[in-house]
């Protein structure tokens, strides 16, 4: 069974630039999550999708972050414009259902904003 795929693995941009991350969840998983993990901290949920609908985006900085999951499969997370404090690893995870106690994580995208 293929795992959660993410790209790119690494990205370096200057502040005020824009960046996009892509995630392809495990086939058949209805729930998709985007997490932000700042160095030395645990992952923090940014947004949760159930199929192509948003379940929770309470911690997504909506003035600069956006995410979509068209067709209920893969997803993109965008930051525009980026700030220095956005430097982090962005993790995508998926689970079979919203109950989701076993979430499967991708390898993450390490973003550095200079």
């Amino acid at each position: 069974e293929a795992g959660v795929a993410q790209s790119p693995r690494y990205k370096i941009i200057e502040k005020r630039q824009s960046v996009a991350f892509w995630c392809n969840p495990i086939s058949g998983h209805a729930t998709l999550y985007w997490y932000q993990q700042i160095l030395g901290q645990g992952p923090k949920l940014l947004i949760q999708f159930q199929n192509n609908g948003v379940v929770d985006d309470s911690q997504l900085p909506k003035d600069r972050f956006s995410a979509e999951r068209l067709k209920g499969v893969d997803s993109t997370l965008k930051i525009q414009p980026a700030k220095l404090e956005d430097s982090a690893v962005y993790l995508c995870a998926s689970s079979l259902s919203e109950g989701g106690y076993e979430q499967y994580f991708g390898p993450g995208t390490r973003l550095t904003v200079t």
Binding site: Q41, G42, Q48, S95, E98, G99, G100, Q103, G106, P107
Partner: protein, 117 residues
């Protein structure tokens, strides 16, 4: 507001000995707890979990204990092996009527475990 806390940033253990990783939580609406393990440059992988209706769950060398009254859980690894060296995250999920999305996991800061040969 850190609802899930892992107060030990790191732990060093000799191979063959027991590793004990601790986690405290504050939100009484959490009813399911998980431990994830993370190697460098990889995403976290699920290790073991426990429901709030239990006080112990065992899976091979890994055992998780839950003390609801103290809002404390711990992960025991015995015997510890060098391959167990990784970052361990404790996570918690609210109940269905917990006032937030059911699948939302809240993670602790992580504990770096180093097992020396």
């Amino acid at each position: 507001d850190q609802q899930v806390k892992q107060n030990s940033p790191s732990l060093s253990v000799q191979e063959g000995r027991i590793s004990i990783l601790n986690c405290d939580y504050t939100n009484s609406m959490f009813d399911y707890f998980l431990w994830y393990k993370k190697y460098p440059a990889e995403g976290p992988t699920f290790l073991i979990s426990i429901s709030s209706i239990k006080d112990k769950n065992e899976d091979g060398r890994f055992t998780v204990f839950l003390n609801k009254s103290a809002k404390h859980l711990s992960l025991h690894i015995v015997p510890s092996q060098p391959g167990d060296s990784a970052v361990y995250f404790c996570a918690a999920r609210p109940s269905r009527d917990g006032g937030t999305s059911y699948g939302k996991l809240t993670f602790g800061q992580g504990t770096i475990l180093t097992v020396h040969p």
